[in-house]
């Protein structure tokens, strides 16, 4: 399936910004189940140069600075991504916790090292107060990491309220856990904390999800959003993704942008601006299915 993603972030400042330095992580990466066919990154006002490179996770990062005075800044990323249509890989429910642990102890490939990193607490993922009962319950119910992750996904989906008004970028996993509410990012952080507490290597995944309008209705422009979920590692099997916001294993409707230990490794846009006063930020995302249509680099659809 080919998906076109347009991700626009618009910053409007009360005053004039004299200088800004920014880092982006919004270009979809290649994975074993998707390929980024093209990407166009546009910034207005145009920086002298947009630097891009790959970090050690394999994510594409970009850096730019704007040295002219401006009172708004628009970052637009348009990508065409082909996602694999094959059926979802079977979850390795037969591999017990102990077997997973013993296997990992003997493996030292790149993914195994990343898994070790994803067992440790990280900036946004620290042990939650009061999570012990849930961890014990799930360990009791399940024999395998895969089962644990699947059950955890469902528990979060059932027990947490999706509440966009609740979260800010600084919402901690603990706060979301205590209030039992939040957005995709919070659910992913809560899940990661519980998985790591149970000794299951788990990473944070950022990306997009194609949404379909109710039958008979036209899809609204900019109605999609950037998304986040989690992924667990099973030695020798690889990584398996789970989306606790939708209680669903990500399929070809999902596009992966980047992964890391938590949000901090893959924040879509971070930066420092000098001056400007208060900021208003508008984010709009469109994910559209395309079949055989022609695309040019700017991402404009050719009729």
């Amino acid at each position: 399936m080919k998906l076109q993603i347009r991700h626009e972030t618009r910053y409007e400042y009360a005053g004039t910004v004299s200088h800004s330095v920014n880092q982006l992580c919004i270009v979809p990466r290649d994975t074993s189940y998707q390929q980024c066919l093209n990407n166009a990154l546009q910034v207005e006002p145009a920086p002298e140069k947009i630097f891009t490179w790959q970090d050690n996770f394999g994510n594409t990062l970009a850096h730019f600075s704007i040295e002219e005075s401006h009172d708004q800044c628009v970052v637009e990323s348009v990508s065409l991504v082909e996602t694999r249509d094959e059926s979802m890989p079977e979850l390795p429910r037969h591999v017990t916790f102990d077997e997973s642990r013993q296997l990992l102890a003997l493996q030292f490939e790149d993914n195994d090292l990343l898994a070790r990193m994803c067992l440790l607490p990280s900036q946004h993922v620290t042990r939650l107060d009061g999570s012990q009962t849930l961890v014990n319950e799930l360990l009791e119910e399940c024999d395998s990491a895969a089962c644990f992750a699947e059950q955890l996904m469902t528990r979060i989906f059932d027990e947490f309220d999706y509440d966009p008004g609740f979260s800010t970028v600084v919402t901690t996993g603990q706060k979301a856990w205590d209030a039992k509410r939040g957005v995709c990012q919070d659910f992913a952080h809560v899940a990661l904390a519980i998985l790591r507490e149970a000794g299951i290597p788990a990473r944070y995944v950022s990306g997009y999800l194609e949404t379909l309008p109710p039958p008979g209705q036209k899809k609204l422009q900019g109605s999609d959003a950037s998304h986040a979920w989690f992924s667990i590692y099973c030695p020798e099997q690889g990584w398996f993704d789970f989306d606790p916001t939708n209680n669903k294993r990500p399929d070809q409707q999902y596009v992966t942008t980047a992964w890391g230990r938590d949000y901090a490794d893959v924040a879509p846009l971070k930066g420092v601006v000098y001056g400007g006063g208060s900021q208003a930020i508008t984010v709009s995302v469109d994910v559209n299915r395309v079949d055989g249509a022609l695309y040019v680099a700017s991402g404009q659809k050719q009729a």
Partner: protein, 846 residues
């Protein structure tokens, strides 16, 4: 005081088991033990004088604030025999090569992880490991390496800590050598002791060799409030590099730029004393918002070289001690020469379980703290349980170490020979295939028992380390030839905006202290001069004029103004004593002296040793004013004389400062900002005093006489006019006369010409605001006709008020215009964060 009997070790640095002196030590020991108590005492005083003069202190540059104390240097050096040093040097060279190879591997192929030489989690659990720097070649070199070493009871050296980010203490080590070799001059010259100056020459070359010639290298520090500021300023002066702070730098495109009064200037090499975490807010490990955004990007793109590179603290991780022998054979193919403290990584379950029963025998450390060892045996039950709980939760973050007693070194404490536990910090730098060690180091003495160590800031005293040579030592002065050039001038061409601003404020504060002291001196003299009290009303009025001037000069309204003025004017002692001695009162002498000291500390790398000596002496003045209010609550008799004496002493030091600033500083841009600050402040103060006195008391000849005294123009007046006090003539001398350095005309004329010489002023007209204001003031003064003015039979006061009122705002206008043009190059920073706005640390957003 703790005596040497409280801690002991089997190993004494200077003696063998039978108590006989080691050969290398005997010349020093016999010389120093043969000194009479008087000689020792003289030497101690000499040391003290030398380090006070150098302003040597550990802690922030502000006297009253916690943390700062004079540097302690032991008169007894640590002596390293030729063979002993050789073993240590070889071992440290190997350790440096090993750490460098480890760094290269961790930020490169990570073979040590893939081949399981080191557990990956031990690396990942350390906050210094920067995932974002992996795979980028510029982050894998380690030009500088320092190490804390101690000697175990067996006599073998071992490494207690690796210091990889910046060579903290290097400046102190150098300063210790300069001071001790001066105090023990004869002894030092007669012994064959290896010199350390050579190391600094190589250090300069190393920094410059990072890039092509003509590189601009800066030393990056945290600023005057930081505990290591002294040594950063010292090194910057010694090496001849500009000392900058984080917000002096900005990244544009792929390059780093220094904000100077002359615009942005590109920086090629950053010799940094700032920790990894604080370098770049876009890469921080936490919510740290200080730093230079984009610095890591610039380094990655080859726009700048950071020494040591970002991410290097990963190899400071003490957990590596567990696997050093394996790492050494894996990475270097060699056998490890120098051991570290026996260490256990608690992230290993087996290791952790095995040690559980032994915890109280060991020392425990979180790998993300700098050299802080916790002693479980000394912890309360509650703290011990808390520690065990954190270990259980995040065992990867903890190591346990065996307790190792360190050797004892002889030390001279209060004229007596005692012994102290010794740690040495040794400095090495990259030198082709190996590392070059500085033949010397920073000896750190402590009394800590049980193998725990003190932090560098908490030690009892420091020691110079003398390394013996078996061949003759070429006579070499420690002062490089360029010292006089570097130390006595303001480096033109790259005057950072923040430094210009500090120099400007240094000038203002120096003048503010002076005018405060002069006006208070005037008050005290008036109070003492009772012979004039024949005309009580005039005298009372002239005192009121002085007291009100005092309030204006110190900016402490209401003071002698307002509703309570009748009382305070009648009983001025309490308010005066507060102005003289209350450090909490803004505008008081001690308070302004502290501000002066702070500004001086910020730019100490740009002040000559003479000026620094004067600045140091201000601390004594500061302390002596503090004692005034303890002695008496009134200002009379002895107290009055005492105060006048203190004020006069202070004025002499300030005169020395001003004189040296004229005679001893290159008259470049920095000097100009200092002078402009001084002139602006004097304009403002003089105008306030004149306006206070003339508005109400222009017909009171006592008041005018006091005024002439306070503005140092009484002699000129008498010699020039040989007449009774005439207000028109006083105005002429104090306002119009451009040859009188105390007059308003003189200030504005000099301001005008200094502003015209500032960088970036290419226009020939008066359109720029600072220049315009100065010219406006000067014109008003030149057009004033005092005789005509005084003939206004009524409303003289009002006319004068108008005149001084028009000048009142000028100094602030000029200061604001200069600030806008030269000092603030940036607007306050804000964090942008994917749709959310986080305020940045206000301390940085100045």
């Amino acid at each position: 005081m703790t005596t040497s009997s409280e801690v002991s070790s089997d190993f004494n640095e200077s003696t063998d088991a039978d108590g006989n002196w080691h050969e290398a030590w005997s010349p020093v020991l016999s010389a120093l033990t043969n000194f009479s108590p008087e000689q020792i005492s003289l030497c101690q005083q000499d040391l003290q004088r030398r380090y006070r003069e150098n302003g040597l202190a550990f802690g922030s540059g502000i006297w009253r604030h916690a943390g700062q104390r004079p540097w302690q240097l032991d008169l007894m050096p640590q002596i390293m025999g030729v063979d002993d040093w050789q073993v240590l040097e070889n071992g440290l060279q190997q350790r440096a090569r090993l750490k460098a190879a480890l760094l290269k591997d961790l930020y490169g192929k990570q073979r040590v992880l893939h081949e399981a030489i080191v557990p990956a989690q031990a690396v990942y659990a350390h906050q210094g490991f920067v995932e974002a720097a992996v795979g980028i070649p510029v982050f894998d070199s380690m030009p500088l390496y320092s190490s804390d070493v101690s000697r175990s009871p067996s006599g073998a050296w071992y490494v207690a800590d690796d210091v990889c980010q910046a060579p903290h203490g290097l400046g102190y080590a150098l300063e210790n050598r300069l001071i001790l070799s001066g105090t023990l001059g004869g002894l030092y010259r007669n012994l064959r002791i290896r010199r350390v100056a050579d190391y600094f020459k190589h250090l300069r070359a190393l920094l410059f060799n990072q890039v092509d010639s003509n590189a601009r290298c800066v030393i990056l520090g945290y600023g005057a409030s930081h505990k290591y500021h002294f040594e950063q300023a010292y090194l910057s002066k010694y090496l001849g590099y500009t000392l900058v702070q984080l917000n002096d730098l900005t990244v544009r495109g792929k390059y780093v730029w220094l904000k100077t009064v002359d615009g942005l200037q590109q920086v090629d090499v950053i010799f940094r004393f700032v920790q990894d975490d604080d370098l770049d807010p876009l890469v921080g490990t936490g919510n740290n918002t200080q730093g230079v955004p984009g610095l890591l990007h610039s380094a990655r793109e080859g726009g700048v070289v950071v020494v040591n590179p970002f991410g290097v603290s990963a190899v400071e991780n003490p957990a590596f001690n567990v696997w050093m022998p394996q790492l050494c054979s894996f990475l270097l193919g060699e056998e490890l020469q120098l051991l570290g403290t026996p260490t256990y990584w608690l992230g290993d379950d087996d290791q952790c379980n095995m040690l559980e029963s032994r915890f109280k025998e060991l020392l425990v450390r979180n790998i993300n703290t700098q050299s802080e060892l916790q002693d479980p045996a000394l912890l309360s039950k509650k703290d011990f349980d808390a520690l065990m709980a954190s270990i259980k939760e995040q065992p990867q973050q903890y190591i346990a170490q065996e307790r190792l007693c360190r050797s004892m070194a002889p030390s001279i404490v209060d004229n007596k020979l005692e012994t102290r536990q010794l740690t040495m910090r040794i400095y090495l730098m990259d030198d082709a295939d190996s590392y070059r060690a500085m033949p010397g180091g920073l000896g750190l003495l402590d009394n800590q028992m049980g193998g725990a160590r003190t932090k560098i800031g908490d030690m009892v005293s420091s020691k110079d380390v003398w390394v013996a040579s078996d061949s003759s030592v070429p006579y070499e002065t420690l002062m490089p030839k360029n010292r006089s050039a570097a130390a006595f001038k303001i480096v033109d061409g790259e005057l950072p905006s923040s430094v210009a601003e500090s120099l400007f404020w240094l000038g203002r504060y120096a003048e503010r202290v002076e005018s405060t002291a002069r006006v208070l001196d005037g008050v005290c003299l008036h109070l003492r001069a009772d012979e004039r009290f024949q005309d009580e009303v005039s005298s009372r009025h002239s005192l009121a004029a002085l007291l009100k001037s005092t309030t204006e000069v110190t900016g402490t309204r209401p003071g002698f103004f307002g509703a309570g003025a009748a009382n305070t004017l009648a009983e001025p002692d309490e308010e005066l004593l507060r102005l003289l001695s209350d450090p909490e009162k803004a505008g008081s002498i001690p308070h302004t002296l502290e501000s002066l000291s702070y500004s001086a500390a910020t730019v100490r790398d740009r002040l000559s040793p003479d000026v620094l000596r004067v600045i140091s002496s201000l601390e004594e003045h500061h302390n002596s004013f503090l004692t005034l209010s303890q002695q008496s609550t009134t200002l009379d008799g002895g107290q009055l004389n005492n105060t006048i004496a203190k004020l006069n002493d202070l004025l002499i030091s300030l005169a020395a400062f001003s004189g040296l600033a004229i005679e001893n500083m290159t008259q470049g841009d920095g000097w100009r900002f200092l002078q402009i600050g001084k002139r602006i402040e004097r304009t403002s103060q003089t105008n306030d005093i004149l306006s206070t006195v003339f508005s109400e008391y222009y017909d009171n000849s006592f008041a005018l006489e006091d005024l002439l005294g306070v503005l140092c123009s009484d002699m000129t007046y008498r010699s020039r006019y040989r007449t009774l006090i005439d207000p028109a003539l006083v105005l002429n001398l104090l306002v119009i006369d451009e040859s009188n350095p105390r007059s308003l005309g003189f200030q504005l004329k000099n301001l005008e010409s200094a502003i015209q010489l500032l960088p970036g002023r290419r226009k020939a007209d008066y359109s720029e605001p600072a220049l315009r204001s100065a010219a406006e003031g000067l014109a008003r003064i030149r057009l004033l006709d005092p005789v005509e003015l005084m003939e206004h039979t009524d409303g003289v006061g009002d006319t004068l008020n108008q005149f001084f009122g028009a000048l009142h705002k000028l100094p602030d206008d000029i200061a604001d215009a200069l600030t806008a043009q030269y000092f603030t190059h940036t607007d306050p920073p804000n964090m942008l964060c994917s749709g959310f706005n986080l305020p940045i640390d206000p301390a940085v957003a100045r």
